[in-house]
Amino acid sequence: MSGGPDDQTGLPGLRTWRRVYWAVVAALAAWVVFLCLLDRAFG
């Protein structure tokens, strides 16, 4: 990382792009788990 303006995400708690990408993957995984639980609870 060169520390240039494009390397700064500007997001609180997610300072590197790598962290942003992991957060996106975590959000997707959370949705998949939520959908499975919804089906299990009411299906």
Binding site: D6, T9, W17, V24, V25, L28, L35, D39, A41, F42
Partner: protein, 566 residues
């Protein structure tokens, strides 16, 4: 629709179009005409990416899909966040570094002119034909239920989008899309609230979800490995990943959206915004359809949601067969409503056996109602050839017209048109840019000044707009043309994606190898498609991309010495 609805509809659509046209009227730099303002905020980029992807059919048909099949369709979007990460991490920095106007320009510098033209040609063929359907598909639904003339609906909506896209270019497209997305979300949120409020008094959220789950409408994730199943976790994640990678990484209508603005950071944040919010957005649109399904367990639904089509059939039915089927359907629906109420009463009383018995009876009634629907469709289509079997398009709009107050009906119809215009504008903008940059400036006229290319781009955008309107006007006369366009849309993404994957990740493969590899891969996909390979359409992108990479590598291996010399 009454005068208030028309006022809301016309006011919103024309207001946004005229505002954008006025604010972006002075465009004489090619950079701002094709890429928009340097100061475009990442949120605007994110909304623009979202608006280009989500067409009117997304908002018209997806609730109907939730009504018919439940939440399963959401799986198709599981691969998209992962693809957007790849685009943001690998594709975007190179596009930005080379400062290209189109994705295909990059192929010219990485490979050669013929590979650039091949990829641009794939795009123009696919999007150029598909652009007409973006207008036609919502126009045929809305004109049918509103009683409007189809040709007038197509021409009016088409000319509005051509007006501001030609006038203001990328900046106008970004500006209008921002407000159009606002209208879409406001309309969908209002509809969601009204659907929930229309459910019977005393019905809790838990009851509603139990009814939806009892009729198998909550199955959002299917881990079956069967490739012939339409929506599974695997096809959605892997097939959806390749489809989204092709669409966001290689389709100029998206590349142009996120290359607008002045910074890599803004483009990345715009893409990550979509990576986070696309799956929830599709979930809520499908959930709206699921709640519509619950609503129609307590209120009798029509046998056909496309009521205009049904009434025309009934008017020409001298035998009375259609009316008899309708009476049978109504009777089953009334019985089912009583069974669902008994089921919920037993569930609340803690009587598990009674609840299961009532649920099982309601499920059988549902199957009987679906069988009558199938018989009614057969009877209707035998009297009126060309009847649409796709009820998904009409479920939501029928509810809107029957249950929303005036003013809100206008807002929802404006939302559907806003979605049509926003995706259409992104496509036209990209078609005009690609024709200007990859064909006209690259082959016909090199070295002219900016104002010349801006003028050329305006003419090409107008040309593609008129092609789209013309296609939409004549589409209903040629069902085969619509079918051919849909096929091209499904199977023409894999090979171009393979070209870009080779360009980014396999440095040793050169232009000639990837050019012939792409043509071979596309031929293979066509052969597999027309031989009826029993797989979901999403897998064709995986096959096309893998075949392109494999064939390119093999050709390069054969040509190894020659390439090294080059």
């Amino acid at each position: 629709m009454n005068a208030a609805d028309y006022l809301v509809l016309v006011g919103i659509l024309l207001g946004i179009a005229l505002y954008a046209t006025w604010n972006t009227r002075r465009q004489d730099s090619l950079r701002s005409y094709l890429k928009g303002s340097e100061n475009t905020h990442w949120f605007t980029i994110g909304l623009s990416v979202m608006a280009t992807q989500a067409s009117a059919i997304t908002f018209l048909s997806t609730p109907g899909q939730g009504y018919q099949d439940g939440l399963g369709f959401v799986q198709n979007y599981f691969g998209m966040p992962l693809a957007l990460i790849v685009v943001a991490a690998f594709f975007l920095p190179i596009f930005r570094k080379l400062n290209v106007y189109t994705a295909y320009e990059f192929l010219g510098s990485r490979f050669d002119s013929k590979t650039r033209l091949l990829a641009a040609g794939f795009f123009l063929l696919q999007r150029g034909l598909g652009a007409g359907l973006t207008i036609y598909a919502p126009a045929i639904v809305l004109s049918s239920v509103m009683g409007w003339r189809l040709d007038a609906t197509i021409v009016c909506s088409g000319l509005v989008v051509v007006l501001y896209t030609v006038s203001g270019g990328c900046e106008a497209v970004n500006l209008t899309q921002k407000y159009q997305v606002g209208v879409i979300f406001a309309g969908m949120a209002a509809a969601f609230v009204i659907v929930i409020r229309s459910l019977p008094a005393g019905l809790t959220l838990s009851d509603s979800l139990a009814v939806a789950g009892g009729f198998h409408r909550l199955g959002g994730v299917d881990f079956s490995p069967d490739p012939a199943r339409r929506y599974t976790f695997w096809s959605g994640t892997l097939g959806g990943f390749f489809l989204a990678l092709a669409y966001f990484g290689t389709d100029q209508s998206q590349v142009q959206r996120y290359l607008s603005g002045g910074s890599l950071r803004g483009s990345r944040l715009g893409l990550m915004f979509n990576a986070v919010f696309k799956v929830p957005m599709q979930f809520f649109i499908l959930l709206l359809g699921v709640f519509l399904f619950v609503f129609y367990q307590f209120e009798r639904p029509p046998l056909f949601f496309n009521r205009a089509q049904w009434q025309q059939g009934v008017a020409h039915d001298s035998s009375g067969q259609l009316r008899a089927l309708e009476a049978g359907f109504d009777s089953i629906e009334d019985r089912k409503a009583a069974e669902v109420k008994a089921w919920l009463a037993a569930r609340r009383a803690g009587d598990a056996a009674g609840a299961e018995a009532a649920r099982s009876a309601a499920e059988k009634s549902q199957a009987a109602a679906e069988e009558i629907h199938a018989r009614a469709f057969k009877a209707l289509s035998s009297r009126r050839p060309g009847v649409s079997a796709n009820e998904n398009d009409y479920v939501f709009v029928d509810f809107i017209l029957d249950h929303l107050p005036h003013g809100l009906i206008g807002l929802l119809v404006a939302a559907f048109f806003a979605a049509a215009l926003s995706s259409k504008a992104g496509e036209l903008n990209a078609l005009g840019s690609t024709t200007t940059v990859d064909l006209y400036r690259h082959i016909v006229r090199r070295g002219a000044d900016d104002s010349h290319y801006v003028t050329a781009s305006r003419w090409f955008t107008a040309f593609w707009g008129l092609v789209a309107i013309g296609f939409a006007l004549f589409a209903h006369l040629a069902e085969n043309l619509i079918q051919a366009t849909n096929i091209l849309g499904s199977v023409l993404y894999g090979a171009p994606l393979g070209v870009f994957l080779v360009a980014f990740f396999i440095r040793r493969i050169r232009g000639t190898a990837v050019f012939w590899g792409a043509l071979g891969a596309q031929a293979l996909v066509f052969v597999l498609y027309f031989r009826g390979l029993p797989v979901s359409y999403l897998w064709y992108n995986v096959i096309g991309a893998a075949a392109c990479v494999g064939l390119s590598g093999a050709i390069q291996a054969v040509r190894g010495g020659e390439a090294a010399a080059a």
